[in-house]
């Protein structure tokens, strides 16, 4: 959210383009050249080239993922990317005060988000538009935050999706507390009549970045969760950068290994592999629901755009790096997989592209017509119960404003 010269509208820039529906020859070549990174500890079910890698531990967690589900995950990612690009563009046009792009993190967000059950609760940071999408939070509902008409716009309970949190690390403790509550209410480790895990068990997932791991709150969240066996999945999207700082400024070791010191599992998954993210997160959530939580997941991914629309990454990182990560694009590999292994035809991709365009158009329409909040909003919901002091301030200010209206000013 950090924004240099935020009040100056930057020039519309040439950010990375939304993925085209059809892979270019370069993209195919690139995909083939792509190498696995993230170290040997990386869990990966789908390579950048679109090949399915078997995994004894995690295959059972995606046994139900048939071609329809895969196509659905692909569609999710394309829509979310399209929405992200559209919002980014609208920021350039002055329709949004700022935008926080998720470009490149679609797989981490869709894979983990789709692993959640309706009764689970997700605590996002501020970049989790993809997770929001999986929780049924309309992209349009996100815009108020970035147009600065609002600070959070959805019904968190209905969606199982907590408000965005901007202060780095705060939500990790809040999520841990929520998960403790799930446990205290007996929503963990139950069995149905047949002795199988109960379908009403719940878990919590919390999202944070690589930079966030340095914050005391994240540590305390780990401590609490371990001590109370809280059913919480700590989902760290390591997108390699905390604004301008590379991960080496936060840690000597791969971040998933942080869990070692607390006594719960830590695992690194290819964050650009939607299937891997789905499987690993499902596994982690089940651990939690069964009462074996917490779990730390490090999704090894890449922030392909700027930190926010006010950031200029050319000041601190080389474009080579971006080019390399493009080879590991989360959407391309699913398309390659669908095409090569499942013979999915161009029709499907065209349809998804059309859906994405419609999605973006709707978003755009909505954004251009968003009303400003009324001045009274300043004073509303400061408290749940009335405050005479604040009531007086509101009345005084509104009367003052009314004076201008009477005088025909403003």
């Amino acid at each position: 959210m950090s924004s240099p010269e935020q009040w100056t509208r930057p020039e519309p820039g040439a950010g990375p383009a939304a993925t085209a529906a059809e892979p270019t020859p370069e993209q195919v070549k690139a995909g083939l050249r792509a190498t696995t990174e993230g170290g040997p500890e990386l869990t990966q079910l789908l390579t950048p080239e679109g090949e399915r890698v078997p995994s004894e531990q995690f295959d059972p967690y995606v046994a139900d993922v048939d071609i329809d589900v895969l196509c659905g995950l692909y569609r999710d990612m394309v829509l979310v990317r399209r929405g992200d690009r559209e919002a980014n563009h609208m920021q350039r046009q002055g329709q949004l005060g700022i935008w926080v792009p998720l470009l490149g993190q679609e797989a981490a967000q869709i894979g983990s988000g789709r692993a959640l059950k309706p009764g689970d609760m997700a605590f996002p940071s501020y970049r989790e538009h993809g997770v929001a999408f999986t929780r049924g939070v309309d992209f349009k509902e996100l815009l108020g935050i970035f147009r600065c008409t609002d600070q959070s716009g959805w019904d968190f309970q209905r969606h199982g999706f907590h408000p965005y949190t901007i202060v780095i690390g705060n939500q990790v403790l809040n999520a841990t507390g929520y998960a403790m509550g799930q446990k205290f209410e007996g929503k963990v480790g139950n069995t149905d009549g047949d002795g199988r895990p109960s379908s009403t068990d719940e878990a919590t997932i919390v999202y944070f970045g690589d930079g966030a791991t340095s914050q005391g709150d994240v540590h305390e969240g780990f401590v609490w969760a371990a001590v109370y066996d809280a059913p919480v999945v700590f989902f760290c999207q390591n997108n390699q950068w905390a604004i301008s700082e590379p991960t080496e400024r936060q840690s000597r070791l791969p971040l998933y290994q942080r869990a070692r010191g607390y006594g719960f599992p830590g695992i690194r998954v290819d964050g650009n592999d939607v299937l891997g993210c789905l499987a690993v997160t499902r596994w982690a959530l089940e651990e939690c629901r069964h009462g074996n939580g917490p779990v730390l997941i490090e999704a090894f991914t890449y922030r392909m755009d700027a930190h926010t629309t006010t950031d200029d990454p050319t000041r601190y990182r080389l474009s080579d790096e971006l080019e390399e990560w493009k080879l590991k694009d989360p959407i391309e590999r699913v398309r390659a997989h669908l095409t090569r292994r499942h013979g999915i035809e161009q029709d499907f991709f065209d349809q998804v592209q059309a859906d994405a365009d419609a999605f973006a158009a709707e978003l755009r329409d909505f954004c251009f017509n968003m009303p400003d909040p009324p001045p009274e909003r300043i004073f509303s919901n400061v408290y749940a119960e009335p405050s005479p002091v604040l009531d007086a301030q509101r009345e005084e200010y509104l009367a003052y404003l009314g004076g201008f209206v009477e005088a025909g000013e403003r």
């Binding site: 403790l173 507390g177 403790m180 509550g181 205290f184 919901n381 119960e385």
Partner: protein, 345 residues
Amino acid sequence: MMAAPTKAVADSATSSVQTLTIGKALNLGLRAAMEADDKVIVMGEDVGKLGGVFRITDGLQKDFGEQRVLDTPLAESGIIGTAVGLAVRGFRPVCEIQFEGFIFPGFDQISSQLAKLHYRTQGGVKVPVVVRVPFGGGIGAVEHHSESPESLFAHIGGLKVVSCSNPADAYWMIQQAIRCDDPVLFFEPKRLYHSGAVKAPVDTAAAPDPLFASRVVRQARGARATVVAYGPSMKVCLDAATAAAEEGIELDVIDLRTLSPLDLDPVFESVRRTGRLIAVSEAPAESSITSEIAARVQQECFYSLEAPVLRVTGFDTPYPPSKLEEHYLPDLDRILHAVDRALDW
């Protein structure tokens, strides 16, 4: 759903009137709140077996179990931060901060989440968390154990801040704070916890005053000045008023009770009669609740004031080595001196 508190209370006490210290009143109030609503949980350092270092939570873990009285890991941000999450889940956590000097690691969670979640979500999320804070000096303690940071929280929109000064308020206000859907910082006068001097009968069946209202505790026709204070300073103010009365000077005395939002109407009303106001607090004066009182009274009572609002407070220094606290803390003499100055203005 919560049972009506009065009923639960009546059940748990044998007679409806008991003579209690503030500490015991808080303990019984917490117990009543926990009986009335099983979503109420108590959390903090050493609040379980030990019953808290001041014994305010004594016996609660024994009777309500480890899942409702949590001995937490040693980190205040963790205490507040998980309490916020528990509140989002539907619990009503009551956090104990061991001493006011240790609330600062939790400051961020208080100001960024606890104070703002309800506003941020246009009322969609409620965070009925009570943060209990033993505060104030006069106990001969080492550093960080005698401070008065309440003004910091009064400055932050979205928080409610209260302080009790006597057993009846302690008993009722803690229950009201827990029932309140807003986050409440609850400042407890630790010096008086177990003091016999403020021990008093508490009628656990009588209907209490509202939580967010100040109270005139002494009023006299012909009073020549008003004294306003809260929490641990109330006793010394009342003693000062008694002493002044003996010398023929009547003082109105007002217990703020709610420090944010301030309920100053009774103060305005009194000052309009007396023409003088002394605001008393152990906290440093600079940019504080007593500053706010002075600022608002000089505006509301501009034509009634016969002397400026005077303040008797801690100095604008860190809390000194406690061998010196008798000098640092407002005492009877300093209050009477201020009354004299106001009268002679």
